[in-house]
């Protein structure tokens, strides 16, 4: 009706075009259209305009956002404690953890193959008999003769056969064996090695390659191959020494669990011990303690050779001879850290952000007592076998200001990107200004030795040296790993005042470690790559 304001009527035309009018209004508009050519004209124009926009070409998204989104969300979650984060963490962490195959055999494998690939020997220290208050709950691997004397741990294991994390079904090749291990002292080690033996790593892992795996599987495969392109390498791990938190020896159950963080670092980063800088910026000073214990009780070498039982059931790998361990550039670094969760989180954040130096990060959350026991048994077995071969740890002083190797870019990245958890970090000041008294955490570097033989033999490992695709994959999945790391951390955070974290840093062996011709069926240079 012409009495109405043109505007109002016209506005109806737009809605009419969109078919958003009720029957009454529609009728009015149609009447109006019939009567008024100007209205028809306007309708046409509106339609034209509408069409012209509709026909704009669709822009395609340059790249999948989901990784970046999740990564940022994880960080934000942890720093801001959003309710989603808490809910997610609280209710779903177990599910998440279950996706991580942290069954004991797998860990043992990961450790061992990592050692193999890197030609590494990891020392594991006996717990200081005096009960060193400085490092409570430190790894305690008893002398082989004490196998039978592990009642406390055993008991606990028997009482709490909690099983967390089983190799996911999707993880082909890994026998997903439930952790129902009869925890009897005598059989423990035997069972452990059997368990390890049952795992078929070669086929499973070898088949896994970066981008070919689905997300969940990828995660596992990622961690899997961490131990080394040592994929096929599989080998011996049998008695993979593992750093097991011993909670039983002297004290009642402690409220900290040992968290193992695998970090794939660039060789330079490893050589320069950049991790010390990371730790220091979070208030953790790396010190090296001396273990006076005898070789047998104290240090342990984790070598690829394993007790024959384990090796037998896996891909046969010959045992490299330890007799002639050449010195090689370090490609594995192990640091035991005890600090507040916030500090650890800061370290993880920094490592994750520092793409210049670190290629990947994974966290394993060791929870199952049964796991611990089994691994411990396995390591004891191994230790027994290799007694007296590895020299005690050497003392190395690492002062904070020795570690400012982080290049400008790296420092910038580190400072700029990680959620500052500590005053030290927030200040953005380089380490010179670290006040010892401000130190809130401590770290101990575990001496490592390495053998060239291992590297060569170790593998069967498909060398991942300079394989950009794989590194790319690693980086890509860092988000996943990192996210899980964060979640794992949050759960632990909920429980503990301090955390014990074992940082295991490895790097792809680009170094020319003298490679003895692999006796077994392994191709050349092995690889440590997560």
């Amino acid at each position: 009706m012409s009495a109405e304001t043109p505007q109002f009527e016209d506005e109806l035309l737009s809605a009419y075009l969109d078919d958003e009018l009720g029957p009454e209004e529609r009728a009015r508009v149609e009447a109006h259209l019939a009567a008024d050519p100007a209205a028809r004209q306007l309708l046409d124009e509106l339609r034209t305009v509408s069409q012209s926009v509709k026909e704009l070409p669709r822009e395609s998204l340059p790249a999948d956002l989901s990784e970046a989104v999740l990564r940022r969300a994880e960080r934000a979650m942890l720093s801001s404690k959003s309710s989603t984060g808490e809910v997610a963490v609280a209710t779903g962490l177990v599910d998440v953890l279950r996706k991580i195959p942290i069954g004991r055999s797998r860990r043992a494998w990961a450790w061992a193959s990592m050692a193999i690939a890197a030609g590494l020997v990891i020392m594991i220290f006996d717990k200081n008999p005096e009960g060193d208050a400085d490092l409570p709950g430190e790894v305690a691997v008893r002398d082989a003769t004490e196998v039978g004397k592990l009642p406390p741990l055993e008991l606990r294991a028997a009482n709490e056969p909690e099983v967390v994390g089983q190799p996911a079904a999707g993880f082909a090749g890994v026998a997903a064996k439930p952790q129902e291990v009869p925890l009897v002292a005598d059989e423990a080690s035997k069972v452990a090695t059997e368990e390890l033996g049952r795992t078929e790593w070669g086929s499973g892992v070898a088949g896994r390659r970066g981008g070919e795996v689905a997300r969940e599987d990828a995660l596992e495969s990622d961690r899997f191959t961490f131990g080394g392109g040592a994929a096929g390498n599989v080998a011996t791990e049998g008695a993979a020494m593992d750093v097991v938190k011993d909670e039983s020896n002297s004290a009642p159950v402690q409220n900290t669990d040992l968290l193992v963080v695998h970090v794939n670092a660039k060789p330079e980063a490893l050589e320069q011990k950049l991790i010390d800088g990371v730790l220091a910026r979070n208030g953790i000073v790396v010190e090296d303690s001396v273990e006076e214990s005898a070789p047998t009780a104290g240090s342990e070498s984790q070598l690829s050779d394993s007790s024959s039982t384990a090796a037998a059931t896996r891909e046969p790998r010959s045992r490299p001879s330890r007799a002639n361990l050449p010195q090689a550039p370090p490609n594995v670094d192990v640091v035991l850290v005890e600090a507040e969760p916030a500090q650890i989180a800061g370290c993880l954040s920094e490592i994750d952000a520092d793409r210049a130096n670190y290629l990947g990060i994974e966290v394993e959350d060791q929870r199952s007592q049964a796991d611990q026991l089994a691994e411990k048994k396995a390591s004891i077995d191994w230790k027994q076998h290799n007694r007296g071969i590895v020299p005690p740890q050497q003392k190395v002083q690492v002062a904070p200001d020795n570690n400012l190797y982080l290049n400008a870019e790296g420092r910038q990245i580190a400072i700029g990107n990680y959620a500052a958890q500590t005053p030290l970090a927030e200040s953005g000041v380089a380490m010179e200004s670290i006040d010892q008294s401000a130190q809130r955490g401590r770290a101990t570097r575990m001496q490592t030795q390495f053998g060239g033989d291992f590297v060569a033999d170790g593998s069967g490992a498909h060398s991942r040296n300079g394989d950009p695709q794989l590194f790319g994959y690693q980086a890509q999945n860092q988000a996943e790993n990192y996210g899980l790391a964060r979640r794992a951390m949050q759960k632990i955070v909920a429980k503990a005042d301090t955390l014990q974290v074992l940082f295991v840093l490895t790097c792809p062996t680009e170094h020319a470690v003298p490679a003895a011709p692999p006796p077994a069926t392994s191709p050349p240079p092995a690889e440590t790559v997560p």
Binding site: P62, A63, S66, V69, A88
Partner: protein, 207 residues
């Protein structure tokens, strides 16, 4: 009976899927949210490109929006569609982004891209039919609108949102949606009119 159920199922499938992914995310499975991102990112990105006029901005805001959605996921009550909720977050962010004063400049870049090659070098078949010149014209015209007008036009024309949905996303009363959309179209028409006069043939064909 099952047949009937099947026939009526489809419309709600998407919503059910979303709900499922959401609850899985809240249960601690980030991969589920990753799927949600994958599900909506193309659409959201596309809409944001048109609203913001810049591919980079669109990507940034899209990412921001998803991150925000993730962080606030537990506040999503499920009364509206996830899509609506997500877009609300995104468009809020886009408005803040736009207010920082970039659109016009960036639109040029987009215009050029669309004129010759879209950001990723792919023209849809429709675009090819329409003709690149036309696309450029419309782009330029869109760029001359205010961000508010651009938003509502994008939601209606590109996302095919109902007025109700637009109302939810932009948090406006329906009456306002109606009038604003109308005025936005008028504004766009005014921008396009001189161009229409130049290229009447192109335009007329579409009517």
């Amino acid at each position: 009976m099952s047949e009937h159920a099947l026939r009526t199922a489809p419309p709600s499938d998407a919503a059910c899927d979303d709900a499922r992914l959401i609850s899985r995310t809240l249960a601690g499975d980030p991969a589920a949210f990753g799927q949600l991102v994958v599900r909506y990112q193309d659409r959201l990105y596309n809409a944001l490109v048109r609203v913001l006029g810049s591919a980079d901005d669109a990507r940034d805001v899209a990412q921001d929006a998803f991150v925000q959605a993730f962080l606030k996921l537990d506040t999503f009550r499920g009364t509206a569609a996830f899509y609506t909720w997500l877009y609300r977050i995104a468009f809020n962010l886009a408005m803040s982004h736009a207010r920082r004063g970039r659109p016009t400049q960036s639109l040029d870049a987009v215009k050029d891209d669309c004129g010759r090659e879209p950001v990723d070098g792919q023209l849809t078949p429709e675009a090819e039919l329409v003709g690149r010149e036309e696309v450029m014209l419309v782009h330029r015209a869109l760029g001359e609108l205010t961000a508010e007008y651009r938003q509502i036009i994008v939601l209606r024309e590109l996302e095919s949102c109902s007025y109700e949905q637009i109302a939810q996303i932009l948090e406006l009363p329906i009456g306002t949606v109606r009038s604003r959309l109308f005025r936005a179209r008028l504004a766009l028409r005014d921008q396009l009119a001189p161009m229409i006069k130049e290229y009447p043939a192109n335009i007329v064909e579409k009517i």
